[in-house]
Symmetry: C2
DNA sequence: TTGTAAGCGTTATCAG
DNA sequence: CTGATAACGCTTACAA
């Protein structure tokens, strides 16, 4: 009976302390149920002697809820997501929760699979950190089904970007962020402004492109050329190469995120184009990369995004499923942009 | 009885299919136990209809093992660890395992806490990605105790750096990496070479410093100045500021890792010092940052480190506890180093 | 080939 | 204040 390998179960502790498992459970885990001081002491002593630690698995099984919180990101290596993750982990860890980081590689099907696993482990909630595809395809519908099932089991789902499924949202005004950056570039005298977009079909890509176009239009400037990208460094490089091959560089270039802007920046410089003297370059995100490279960008409170989402989930604020909280962004002007000279 | 909220249990499926839970279990989970084709079909159909998905929690409880693998890193945001994480997650995910990333902030006590939680969830194994403190302090002893207990419960523990506890290791030759970089700098004619170290007391810091000193000594060059750091960007900046305040810059500067080297690099450039014309700068790691900034560095196969460790754990190769696998490193010369001119 | 039943380690409900 | 005991959802001998 006395669990061959485990000197660690509640039963063992209760036996050693000479009480029932019920009592042992009450003192060892945060129960409000009253227990006599003397009894409590004996249990504590027994637990210490045995080096008891509760089986999170068993606890979760019976309470139907584990102390796990999941973050589903587009790319663990992108600092944008790494910083969000840190925010989640900080508040989760402080509350004794474990954070599971799932790398979906920006694929909806992977997101769904991870969500399912998270649900299988009865995670308390899931945070979708990345943007998703616009519109209703089969994968989107499957994701929606998975989300519904997750919710049925009591999971709390939060998105940190616009998504095609209903969810409480904590995000930033991507359109505004892009608008502000474009506007700043215009104010520096630039007219031919190029934009290297995010992956097509993603909400965040769309919103940022929209802000760009809106700012140009409002100033009566002809829409600048748009180069397809996917939020990667390589996409920025590729776009820069294409620009360099054309007869004239734009006055300024915006990357849909910092990674892409940095791809543009380094390619340009390697090719001998002066930044910001010949071309200005800006990104969005204000990740550490931007800081390191002194890149003009728009600060997005990534850490806060993660921290707030985690707090929501832990606070059990199921709230309105469609509530949306917009965190402020802020233009950060640095060394890769300057007034137009030529 | 028919679980109010759950139309999802094995019992529900078995009932609908008209078989016992044992049979349902056998067909639904990879059991080799024979089941009649017709029965199998009925069970499958019932499961589909109910949208059954097994409780990972219950499975783990009874098998005493969950499909979870943990990675304990020093800093999620540092690309060095992010890339390791990606390696782990790729192979774990492919095998249907969930990766839990734990951010220990380079604190031994946090590492221990995370390991304990991982054990509470009966993770199949834990990977210590970061380096640890040299020597035997109380925290080190506690960590050791936790590791022993984790092993008792069947967990597999692997370290990706030298650690003070016994563990199978998959790592690189840090001393050699640093030696090679230093040697390269010497070959370029540099003589006054400075080193910005990692956090004092950590094995990896120590090994890299050692390689640096060994290379200088072997060439009969006077030991260069060593500045204290902690693997952070800020440490690199601080060291650069101190150097700039001194009467003469060194010929070359080595950062104990890429982050630090980049801190040095950007501070130098912002202060108007030409890199590599006035000073050469190199790092260790070959993280994406180094790539972006065209930084000379030593390539460390981070992704592979993580992938191999994960494969070991999943393969259940408990193997020799002290076995160590050294992966090759490689000097990557780029634009931040050049022959000494002055 | 199928079923029965004993756990796995907790929590929670009810009686004392 | 304390103790039985029934779940929780699943796996796995052991029987049939």
């Amino acid at each position: 009976m006395s669990s061959a390998s485990g000197r660690g179960s509640l039963a063992d502790v209760s036996r050693l302390a000479g009480v029932s498992v019920a009592t042992a459970s009450r003192v060892l885990n945060g129960s409000t149920h009253p227990v006599a001081a003397a009894t409590r002491e004996r249990v504590l002593a027994a637990a210490r002697e045995l080096g008891y630690s509760p089986s999170a698995l068993a606890q979760a099984l019976v309470t139907k809820r584990s102390r796990i919180i999941g973050v589903i990101v587009g790319d663990v290596v992108d600092p944008y997501f790494a910083e969000i993750t840190r925010g989640v982990e900080d508040v989760a860890g402080r509350a004794g929760y474990l954070t599971i980081v799932c790398n979906a590689d920006r694929r909806t099907s992977a997101e769904r699979q991870y969500l399912d696993v998270l649900r299988d482990y009865r995670a308390v909630g899931a945070i979708f950190a990345g943007s998703g595809a616009v519109g209703e395809d089969e994968e989107g519908r499957e994701l929606l089904r998975s989300i519904d099932r997750a919710r049925d089991q009591g999971m709390n789902v939060i998105a940190l970007a616009t998504r095609s499924f209903p969810a409480q949202r904590v995000t930033v005004d991507n359109r505004g962020a892009s608008y502000d950056l474009t506007d700043y570039l215009l104010s520096l005298g630039h007219r031919r402004i190029a934009f290297v977009s995010g992956p097509t079909g993603f909400y965040t890509s769309f919103e940022r492109l929209e802000g760009f176009n809106a700012a140009l239009e409002r100033s009566g400037v002809e829409p600048g050329p748009v180069y397809d990208g996917d939020f990667s460094y390589e996409a920025g490089q590729a776009a820069a190469v294409r620009m360099l091959a054309e007869r004239r560089l734009p006055d300024a270039i915006i990357g849909a995120n910092d990674e892409t802007a940095i791809g543009v920046l380094t390619s340009l410089r390697q090719a001998g184009a002066e930044v910001p003297d010949a071309v200005s370059v800006g990104g969005i995100g204000n990740t550490r990369l931007a800081h390191f490279l002194d890149l003009t960008t728009v600060s997005v409170p990534t850490y806060e995004l993660g921290a707030i989402a985690a707090r929501r989930i832990l606070g059990g604020e199921t709230g309105e499923v469609d509530a949306v909280t917009i965190l402020p962004h802020r233009l950060v002007t640095r060394a890769t942009t300057s007034r137009r000279t030529q």
